[in-house]
Symmetry: C2
Subunit: 477 residues, 2 copies
């Protein structure tokens, strides 16, 4: 069995140092979406590179391949590459993370300054923007290196890092860099690990082996040359808004069933083996209702709810651009409305087929309305679903590490959302990617009062270190 006790002790002994490292990172408001904070994103890259260097990582601060941010004169922040060890006898693990954060301000309703890491000892929580998403996990890898050093244990693998600063704003340039370096900088990587998602609940750790994809659609219906007064023109003119509402009502039923013919034909059948995976997941309907903030869940069992999130498609109507959307009571007939909706996709749906049947259905259904207005339908973007093999040695290593630290077998989970870089790494490198989360479902990653539990940070650092050790022991089968 693994004996990492000296490593674990080193992590515990240096906990305050790690928290201080995180506090310094949180103090840099590296908000990638806000031009006013762009300099802070660069400052955060400097801080992170400094920390990496101080631990002996050979770094390369790569200019973003796209140079300037699209449509602006602003430089994109660098993508930090790092290599710690090049021993040909060791396996090479590539880890990804991001050092930028979502916007945050006290006015949004934070209880504490979002850019001051604030510990609440009673609840074990450490509040601060970026604490869980994704500065805590990124620094977790660095902490692990440091703990191995202090414990006097040879580092078990060669580690490569890829840390970007635009994740919260579309990861501009990242795909280009990954594809360019797949057979160069990253060529020795044997597997990839990403710590940038969350446990399913608050208590039980998990490994994530699947993500839904998303296909985002835009429906533009136009009629009048300009917005019209409903008093003067109501009843005389074919209203684009009425057409759009009728069209949207044919896409999805109130019970969530997608009404576009053919969508469900593509969904992989539920095998008995897969069904069994849903049996012991640590999750309750109460937790789901807490997360929703109401009792308006559609499914009556945990398994059905998780399947709805993980392995079945869904269609959400997001909103309408061009209609009246302010407070008050304006009597306008909008001349042009753009309805936005998206379909969450799952294996074995393909982007092309989903696009085709959806766009065809929209056009055909609109034709059936007999409207004089004109329609333009388009898919704005699409990301494929991702489904990995949780029996892969990469996952087995992560599971063993989790058991070693937390004493339980992690749940094997999927996620309803997408993390596009996962597929990019898998496709560009041709290597297995494991999602190994550090934080909890209630960490409020993109919301106010984002936090990371102290326990998740410290034990999570142990898990990352133990994972690397388990990789080193793996027979890669």
């Amino acid at each position: 069995m693994t004996d990492l006790s000296a490593f674990y002790k080193a992590v515990d002994d240096n906990a305050e140092l790690y928290i201080d490292r995180l506090a310094k990172a949180v103090a840099i408001p590296s908000v990638s979406a806000d031009p006013a904070h762009r300099k802070d994103v660069f400052a955060m890259a400097d801080y992170l590179e400094g920390q990496m260097k101080s631990l002996g990582i050979t770094t390369e601060s790569r200019k973003n391949p796209l140079g300037k941010q699209a449509g602006t004169s602003m430089d994109l922040p660098p993508i930090l590459l790092g290599t710690y060890g090049t021993d040909p006898a060791k396996k090479t693990v590539l880890v990804y993370g991001h050092y930028d954060v979502q916007p945050a301000s006290l006015e949004d309703g934070w209880n504490t300054d979002p850019f001051v890491l604030t510990q609440d000892d009673k609840t074990d929580r450490m509040f601060g923007r970026g604490s869980t998403d994704d500065k805590g996990p990124v620094l977790g890898w660095l902490n692990a290196i440091e703990a191995y050093k202090k414990a006097g244990i040879d580092f078990p693998v060669n580690l490569q890092c890829c840390f970007e600063g635009m994740e919260e704003y579309g990861s501009e340039g990242l795909d280009e860099l990954i594809h360019a370096e797949a057979k160069e900088y990253f060529k020795k990587a044997d597997c990839v690990c990403i710590s940038d998602n969350y446990w399913l609940g608050e208590k039980k750790p998990c490994l994530t082996y699947g993500l839904r994809g998303v296909s985002y659609f835009n429906v533009v219906i136009s009629g009048p040359g300009a917005d019209l007064h409903s008093g003067v023109f109501g009843g005389l003119v074919q209203e684009p808004m009425t057409d759009l509402i009728h069209l949207f009502s044919k896409l999805v039923a109130p019970d969530g069933k997608i009404l576009i013919p053919g969508i469900y034909d593509q969904v992989s059948e539920l095998s008995e083996k897969e069904q069994a995976l849903y049996k012991n997941i640590d999750f309750t309907l109460e937790e789901l209702q807490d997360a929703i903030g109401s009792k308006t869940n559609l499914k009556e069992t945990v398994a059905e709810s998780l399947m709805a999130r993980w392995r079945y498609p869904s269609l959400s109507l997001h909103g309408i651009e061009g209609a009246f959307s302010q407070a008050g009571a304006k009597t306008v007939i909008p001349a042009k409305v753009q309805g936005k909706f998206s379909i969450r996709t799952v294996p074995d749906m393909t982007t092309d087929n989903t696009a085709k049947i959806t766009l065809d259905f929209l056009n055909k259904t609109f034709e059936g309305l007999g409207s004089k207005n004109t329609i333009k339908v388009e898919m704005l973007h699409a990301g494929k679903p991702w489904y990995s093999n949780p029996d892969h040695w990469n996952f087995r290593a992560a599971a063993a590490a989790t058991k070693s630290v937390h004493g339980v077998d992690p749940d094997l989970t999927r996620e309803g959302g997408s993390i596009p870089v996962t597929i990019t790494f898998e496709e560009a490198l041709g290597k297995n990617v494991c999602l190994l989360p550090m934080g909890q479902s209630t960490d409020a990653a993109h919301s106010i009062n984002e936090k990371l539990n102290r326990r998740n940070y410290i034990e999570g650092t142990k898990v990352l270190g133990a994972y690397l050790y388990e990789i080193s022991r793996s027979d890669m089968k």
Copy 2:
């Protein structure tokens, strides 16, 4: 027959003076909706009162009965009352207008400075915010007084004025003042004339004897405690947006037919006499399509189109508050959406019955969706339809004046929109109200490049003066 030739000549001789008077008014940006321009609304009241006084009108600048604007610390502009003549042997005509204007700025797409009256001699047009709505018509009454003086003709009636400065922002305080003064300041009024609407087209003058009402509804559907990520929750949660779209799709068909049972039962039957009124109206489908800016008109004949505007109800879906309405592609499940729609009402629909059947239908239809979300429906506001007798002596005087100046019998028209003050005057004073427009349908009252044709202003001034003369000759039967 009328001999107003000296009056008409005086109007022509003083045309430049009248245009200068209008130019000075347009130069004051009395935008009632913009707090930054509130001082200009007051300045415009001063300018107008000065003009009135200089012509011998006894004025009273009344503090707005509501004092401060609702929810602000801003004073509401005064309501200017005026009396010109108190001869008990003469009839008394009350005229209403407003001296505030809609917002306007060059950035919106104006070809000229909106607050500089700019004449285009080739096309006879005078561009400027407020030129047609409603500074031109208001000053038309003043011009007429002046022309009578200069022509040396005794003014034919006692004139009372009621000019407000908040019309473009809900006429705050006006109803209160009218009701308070109905048996006081306005007690001698024999009839009311309002020049604040438009010809049906560009060529033929009209008198307006009917307006549709409006009942405005708000439908709030709530579910989750906060907006949710469609990746994480799509398929698991009852989405308020889906419910609202289904509900809205049951309200009105793409062809404009209202689907709420009982709405059409209230509509007055079309009599042969009324049908005859539609026969010679000077209006074409091409003009309608020009106004719409497309060929998406629902009706194939002029009469059907005018009936759709004037004497049948319509239902327009205005938009949704709380859903995603920006550009781009956000993957949100809105937690709470507010759908806004309104029904244009006609005789003999009542506000109460319209509200009842609509709200009942919304609740019952929502129940049929079987949703776990909650609904709240309300009528935000309602204005009654107005229908007057175009054979009344007030209308006959306006028709004779129009014929005298323009040489044609005016069309008798209704409007699809509402002008609430019309009903207030009629109900509070118990007197007939005639709508006598000065401008053309293409004047772009609330849009960019608002204009008033020079001919409409000068000949319109003659019509207003001739109308007062015709009132004086009327036998009031």
